[in-house]
């Protein structure tokens, strides 16, 4: 048994995940490493080297070739394009591989058609390791800036307004470029180097860009997932480090980071905690981030639990909560819980199991109905007072039935219904539905969101959008609709879907 060298992993991921470098304050020469002095200027540059990172930058693919006989740890990637990527007009050149490429490599590649194009770093798994090993990651994977993931600048903007109530400051929904299409439902499929960790980081990155808030002001991050590649080791620590949340001190981040688990409501459960935290004056935390991300697990079709295989998707959704420049205030919430074993995954088991008859009426419907009704009652809301209804979406039927049961009309619940485009993204399911609504909502509209987590429980939230939702929309390039109707989507067959989903 081989186990990764922990100090090497630490150093490689510290630099490679963020693509860290240094710039000489005297001559401007840049290095892709944490150099304490400039090779050209020598001793006098000591203490004058400034940190740079390429994580939010875009580069240019200068030269490339095909790797179709990879080295041993890369064989699961199959063929890929490998090349030299330059940043800052060639001041920094790094090696990189293109990711998310499959169909393009089935025919002969014209390298000159790829060279000189702009590329954006993607945070992905580095290579295959044993299942007992540390999961290696890196951002030396790239996608073209004019394809599925468009390049977006990350800049911070001074907040203009402070609200009495906390609310959603920004959000980011991240899905993959690949889909499987069966009957009436399309589902997002991760590329082989993606997992719940990479989705969480990418979604968080998008939420920061949308917020235009400095990453150093985010004081807490929660990551809800039920497909963490680790049984023990948080996704949140990776998110905190890669996104550099909180004040950086030496090589640590002044941020609290924690993973939560409650099946599909692991993330939504923490919305109120994040909102409360930023409202507590002594917390000294201005912003808190909540991410729900899953490479939703399902046994193969012919095995026990395989019925889920028709619905599972892949993706993540991140929300930043705060009191400044809020786009949707939280009016109130209600949560309910009961110990209902409708769906579970025992430790060490690769796939979750379903409790058959439990999943519908005594589980999903019972909890969602209770949470929705109680919250409406508490806030004295009628169905007509609510513009959008967002429910957890394990399939198409359940959210539609509960919406109708509660008296909602199509125009209230259809905009949030995304399961037919991305599948059930587990912890990301109702958050993606909410993102789809926030993408289109007008100011002063009311959104009722009700999540559901097996085991079982529901969180209901009422959000009231503000006028700032419009001005922030210009920073939301990767909308849910854009990802659902993207011209660069690539469809895969069932065998490929299973292979990609099982990862490196």
């Amino acid at each position: 048994m081989k186990v990764s060298s922990e100090p090497i992993e630490r150093r490689v991921s510290y630099l490679g995940d963020r693509l860290m470098g240094r710039r000489c304050g005297l001559c401007g020469k840049e290095y892709f490493e944490i150099k304490d002095y400039c090779g050209a200027c020598g001793r006098k540059s000591y203490g004058k080297m400034a940190d740079i990172d390429l994580f939010y930058d875009k580069g240019v693919l200068e030269y490339c070739t095909l790797v179709n006989e990879p080295t041993n740890k890369f064989t699961k990637l199959g063929s890929f394009i490998y090349g030299i990527v330059s940043f800052h007009n060639g001041k920094i050149r790094v090696p990189g591989r293109l990711t998310d490429q499959m169909a393009q490599l089935e025919k002969e590649v014209d390298f000159s058609s790829l060279e000189d194009r702009e590329v954006v770093p993607r945070f992905r798994r580095r290579y295959s390791v044993e299942t007992c090993d540390v999961v290696p990651t890196i951002s030396l994977a790239f996608t073209f800036a004019d394809e599925y993931y468009p390049y977006q600048r990350y800049e911070t903007v001074k907040p203009s307004k402070e609200y009495d109530n906390p609310g959603i400051v920004s959000y980011g929904a991240y899905t993959s470029k690949f889909r499987i299409k069966e009957e009436h439902i399309e589902r997002s499929v991760p590329f082989i180097d993606e997992d719940s960790i990479t989705a969480a980081v990418e979604a968080g990155k998008m939420a920061l860009m949308h917020a235009a808030v400095s990453n150093s002001l985010v004081g807490k991050v929660y990551v809800g997932s039920e497909s963490n590649p680790y049984a023990v080791k948080p996704i949140a620590s990776k998110v905190a480090q890669v996104l550099k949340l909180g004040e950086e001190d030496e090589d640590m981040q002044g941020v609290d980071a924690v993973d939560t688990e409650f099946a599909c409501k692991a993330a939504t459960s923490m919305f109120k905690d994040a909102a409360s935290l930023v409202s507590y004056p002594k917390s000294n935390i201005q912003y808190a981030m909540v991410i729900g991300a899953d490479n939703s697990q399902a046994a193969p079709r012919d095995c026990a639990g395989g019925e889920l295989d028709l619905f599972v998707g892949y993706g993540g959704c991140a929300y930043i909560f705060g009191k400044k420049d809020v786009i949707a205030e939280i009016e109130g919430w209600y949560s309910c819980t009961s110990d209902t074993p409708d769906f579970w995954r025992r430790d060490g088991e690769p796939y979750p199991m379903h409790g058959g008859r439990f999943t519908g009426e005594p589980a999903y419907f019972k909890h969602v109905r209770k949470a929705a009704k109680k919250l409406m009652e508490r806030l004295n809301l009628q169905v007509g007072d609510i513009n959008y209804f967002v429910a957890h979406q394990p399939n198409v039927q359940f959210p539609v039935r509960i919406a109708k049961d509660l008296g909602f009309k199509e125009e209230q619940y259809l905009p949030s219904l995304q399961v037919a485009k991305f599948g059930n993204t587990y912890s990301g399911s109702s958050p993606v539905g909410l993102a789809a609504v926030l993408d289109i909502a007008k100011p002063e509209e009311r959104i009722l969101m009700v999540s559901y987590g097996s085991g079982a429980g529901s969180d209901a939230y009422s959000f009231l959008t503000t006028h700032q939702i419009l001005e922030k929309r210009k920073r939301q390039k990767l909308t849910v609709k854009y990802q659902a109707e993207n011209p660069f989507l690539e469809y895969v067959d069932y065998t490929t879907y299973r292979r990609l989903k099982s990862g490196m």
Partner: protein, 398 residues
């Protein structure tokens, strides 16, 4: 006044797969051949310089000096380096300084013992970041070719010519190897085969553009000038030797179309040798790929930057056994190069020196270069990693 180091004898094994042989057997064979040729005994050796890259990995031999001591029953100073040229450099320094008057320089590699993992091992010689990004031992050669084509604006029909020229490099080296009894591939190949392999690989370079994975050993006896004259009438002097280094990270270098280290090493070696570049007739260059042979012609200053492929293309239309550069003849990789002679990393440089030694002494048999009165000077270029280190050695009859 320093003494000049001289090579008095060389020995080598056949390169290729030596499935049944332990590494000890290979170095023993190479050493015995050299010692017989020099007519010396083990006890005459005052020190040994051995080179290998991967014996600790491929054969779990962590302290190679120990096995060499056991093999030779010698207890003299022994040092292990990576490339044969680095071992030779250390030996030359010691001889020059007057420390020793006779030493053994040997190189060995046993790559096929780790067939399924050797390409991963080879990535140790490239930078870790490239490895993490998915680089293979071949990818950088292909990127260098892409960069070369772009930098020198090779377009249209010229691209085809350049690609054909690179194919000719391989064809030529295979042809040379048919006359080399030690070569791994003693068979001819055709330009069509090279091109077909590239098409099958769907890459800029294919199977026939790359040197193989090999086992083998090579050695030589290096002495002081005085000692050499007692042992042979035809010593070959190490006139100049130099090395230079460059960034480990290939993409981070300013110019990815050449090896700066080779250019610097050649300049300094020429200066030390006091030889005009154009008086060198025989060159054994490090053709780990056909691109590397092309680039070497430019790095060593035989061809202008961006022009070597034209020289190759023109010379290979009706190949006469040499590249014709401005009316001068340059015999390159007469042993078949790394491509056809083989490339057991730690021993490769030994085979290169072996070839130049034989050519300068007029002992190369069928592949002896035809030159007025025989060639006087030859050079060897050996790289470590992908141009991270370059060694140039200039040998001469006088």
């Amino acid at each position: 006044m320093y003494t000049r180091p001289a090579v008095v004898a060389v020995g080598r094994t056949k390169f290729g797969e030596h499935y049944e042989k332990e590494p000890e057997k290979l170095i023993e064979e190479a050493w015995l051949k050299a010692s017989v040729e020099a007519n010396i005994e083990r006890k005459d050796l005052e020190a040994c310089y051995l080179s290998d890259y991967f014996l600790p990995i491929t054969n779990k031999l962590g302290l190679e000096e120990g096995f060499l001591s056991e093999l030779t029953e010698l207890h003299v100073p022994m040092e292990v380096t990576r490339s044969f040229s680095s071992a030779l450099s250390s030996a030359c320094n010691a001889i020059q300084a007057g420390r020793y008057s006779m030493v053994l320089v040997g190189g060995i590699e046993k790559m096929t013992d780790r067939w399924d993992k050797i390409r991963d091992d080879l990535m140790l010689l490239e930078d870790p970041w490239s490895y993490y990004a998915g680089c293979t031992p071949e990818a950088n050669h292909e990127l260098m070719l892409r960069a070369y084509i772009k930098k020198y604006g090779v377009r249209g029909g010229d691209v085809e010519k350049l690609n054909a020229a690179l194919a000719h490099v391989s064809v030529k080296n295979h042809m040379h190897a048919t006359k080399n009894e030690y070569a791994q591939y003693q068979r001819k190949i055709t330009v069509e085969q090279v091109l077909k392999a590239r098409k099958e690989a769907q890459r800029p370079l294919g199977l026939y553009d790359y040197a193989p994975i090999s086992d083998g050993a090579a050695s030589l006896i290096l002495t002081s000038e005085e000692c050499a004259k007692k042992l042979t009438d035809k010593p070959v002097f190490i006139r100049g030797f130099s090395s230079a280094t460059d960034y480990l990270t290939f993409p981070a270098r300013d110019d990815v179309t050449h090896f700066l280290a080779s250019e610097i090493a050649m300049k300094n070696a020429l200066k030390m040798a006091g030889v005009d570049r154009h008086d060198i007739r025989v060159a054994e260059v490090y053709d780990q790929s056909t691109v590397m042979e092309m680039v070497a012609l430019e790095d060593l200053g035989f061809c202008e930057r961006g022009r070597a492929w034209r020289t190759i293309h023109e010379s290979c239309q009706e190949y006469k056994g040499y590249y014709e550069i401005d009316g001068r003849e340059l015999f390159v990789n007469m042993n078949g190069g790394l491509k056809a002679d083989g490339n057991p990393l730690g021993a490769t440089g030994g085979a290169q020196v072996f070839e130049v030694f034989r050519q300068l002494r007029g002992e190369a048999g069928e592949r002896q270069v035809k030159s007025d009165a025989g060639p006087t000077y030859g050079c060897v270029l050996e790289l470590e990693g992908f141009g991270t280190k370059s060694y140039v050695c200039i040998l001469g009859r006088d």
